[in-house]
Amino acid sequence: MRAPISWLKDYVDIKLPLKELMWKMTEIGLTTEVSEKIDGEEVLAIEVTPNRPDWLSVIGIAREISIIENSRLTLPALPEIPKKSANLPISVKVHPNLVGRYTGVTISNVFVKPSPSWMQNKLKLMGLRPINNLVDITNFVMFEMGIPIHVFDYDKFKNHKLKIELSKGGEGFTSVDGISYKLPANALVIKDENKVIDLCGIKGGKNSGISETTKNIFIHIPIYSPQTIRKTSQSIKLGSEASYIYERGPDLGGTQNVLKRVTSLVLKLAGGEVASEVIDIKKNDYLPTELALSLNKLEKVLGMNLPKDKVVKILKKLNLSPKEKKESIVCVIPTFRGDLKIEEDLIEEVARIYGYNDFPKTLPEGTTPRKKISHFFDPKFHNYLKNLMVSAGFNEIQTLSLTSEETIKKSQLNLETHIKIANPVSAEFKYLRTSLVPNLLSAVNLNKNENSLKLFELNKVYSGPIDDSREVYKLSAVTNSKEFRFIKGIVDLILEKLNIEDLNIKTTLIEKSLWHPLRSGVVEKGESMLGTFGKIHPQVTQNFEIDDNIWGFELEVSLLEKFAVDILFKPIPKYPPQIEDITLVVPKGIAISKVIQSTKSVSSKIADVQLKDVYKDSFTFRVWYQNPNKTLSDKEVEEVRKKILSEVKNKFKVNQKF
């Protein structure tokens, strides 16, 4: 909502410097961060919240400023509408549930000409182009008082029995500005006989608009059902100043005054005579209502005691006619304050005018709740995994969950399992991702110059169908480090640190996937698949225009958490181990993990076996011999070593290398 300072000054004295005024307005709820100089005049740009349609008017804003400035609000005079002295009969049949109030009058023998320059200037400051005196008056009063008005050329009506009804859908309609629309069903329209002359609350029709030759007019001030106007406006993507106000529910009690204001301006600026009784069709009388504010509750909610007279003073400033009772104050809510419905609304009124920044600050009393809440989440595990990845040299990235069909296809993922947005902002953001890896690959592309790239992300992925969707956290990483054992080492590190044992690894063997069919695999723990690791599919790396030696993994965080075993301290052995390296020649086709496993199980005197070095087909294993109860003798070690060598020879036909 724009508000020119000069226009505001028609109703209220403004003494505060501009910047201070803007902050004070913001503080009490009229957020005003920006003002703009138009034609040398300062115009405030106010962000009006949807609960305050009364602030969509210069008077409404002036009313708040009068509280800030502590000065009197001077409203324009509202002369009574003269008795009819001509005869232009009109009748209107309204749809009672869709039109809360309908007020209007006809005026004969007006003279269409440009409006006076003071009015034109005001409209220009509001960003509107002046048209003629009649149209300008309706716009001027709408901005001034916050209720839309429309004026019709009376002589363009086929008959004078108007009816307001819902469109059937498909009717043609041309607006005053000459644009044609096909109406949707259930739009509120005004018809004379059978043609649509007005798209209610949004735009008037060209077929009934004011022209230079207009003589007789019908002025109407309807208040429509906000939801109906909003639905229509959204479905045909057409909005106007009027529809913006209607959606927010303007003052049902204010139409008579607006009609008085408009009529007096028409008679003054366009001449003519009142030619009908005032029509005023209303569902209710829309009288001010009473709302009580308990002082006890006020203090309880605010956390401070405001003296009763101070509260009364604030409520008076707000035009709420407070009446003091013993333990409460009863307010009279004017019809333009439809937002004041419950006691809490009055509490806010008192608090905001008292000044949020003048309140003391406290912290909640009461004890810390100890019962676990629903949806409880402990971030500890995520933190642990992230820390582990960072220690391993990986940089964390955070990317978007929304992705494109193109990215999904480039990644050789199944489009069908992706949850789809029906109204995407753009093709780039059309699906929810099912894997974190594609964005990691895009990141590899973005950092092409880095030769030792190590990236990870821990975030949610999503899978369909939408009516049975799943959201799970994954931990994924990629690296362009050429060696498989590097990425495998990270997976091993995670599983080892989490103490997860008895894992099973299976080759992927899927032709078309994100992963290489033969150089990647899944890690299983019992029935559960913890995740995938290995090489990215060459077609995928090609699609992402990156080096084909990209390795990565994707693990399901909740499963890692589920299978993680708490670490229990093992006492340090009292007797030192004997450590030696054994090099074996292992031909292709034999799984090293199996060799290690068999070696370990040869004797209880083997504390650990690790792969230390690989050179061609020679694998050097470091073996820790240990007896917890005594120092092993060379002879004992030799016995165990012999057992190891015979075991691997029997099982794998593997020999020691000398």
């Binding site: 939801q227 009393e365 940089n395 990235i397 969707s469």
Partner: protein, 344 residues
Amino acid sequence: MREEILNTKNSALAQILDSQNLPELDELRVGYLGRNGKLNNYFKDIKGLPTDKRKEVGNLLNDSKKAIEDALEKKGQSLTNSLVNEKSWFDLTIPGIIPEIGSLHPQTIVLREVLEIFKYLGYQVADGPEIERDHYNFEILNFPKDHPARDAQQTMFFDVNGTKFTPGELIPRTHTSAMQGRVMEKSTPPLRVIIPGRCFRYEQVDASHGVEFWQVEGFVVDKNVRLTDLFGTIEFVLKSLFGDKTKIKFATTFFPFVEPGVDAYIECTVCNGKGCSFCKKTGWSEIMPAGMIHPSVLSRSGIDTKVWGGFAFAIGLSRVVTLKYQIDDLRTLHTPDLRILKQF
């Protein structure tokens, strides 16, 4: 034997004198004085000598041992001293070799800080669905269908073709406030809850808007929750995050699910209040919308408003990150460029 011992002693003393470093010296100590050292072997041999010779050889061995020990001690001291008195050019200013470690994303760093602050205040963390129902995202929070209050949260919705859902019923949540109802209806007050998470809006992407952003929703439900508690909590949180000198101010605003409604601003961290492009030239940044929970939100979630009240707030996490590190473009946060990531 006497001569042999003397020779051994002399060669030991000579070797000690010639030794170049402490490990070498240590080897000599073991070689001469160790359990299987040369001197020890002589001691073992004493047993085989005639009684009258034993004393003499014993004395000689003891003297030799003492002499070798003294020499070792003296040489050891001098070798240590020479290490201390190293006078050659040694450049302390040469850059060290920094080990290659990874980095946390700035948003992770800031989120951890936020959660730490709230842990101190006794809040529990909740996590919930991003694929949300209109009911929790809007209806329960007083955003009726076809109401302009929804305009502030332009919404995407999921394709629900072929399901029992009507279009618009399932949406990517527009705020983590959607979790208020979910947590409240299944938990028993008093409650102090914080919910970090990803949110989605139908927005054209630019420097200050994105289709996705992170928010931290928080709320308290208790018997005597006051507006001053909300002001105090906001101040505590923002000062913990941005420093004690941070200037904070409050303004009235409207969100359908709170009443009274509060907006909290901090003085722009980029220009210190002078006004810059970062803060739309106002000198202040809107950072933490809040308010007292609207009674109908509580009662819709099954909480008795005669007994319980509460406050709620939201922190724009992405906004805090950009303010904290003076990042002028929101898109920086999800650009995985190593030149950005390595700065944190």
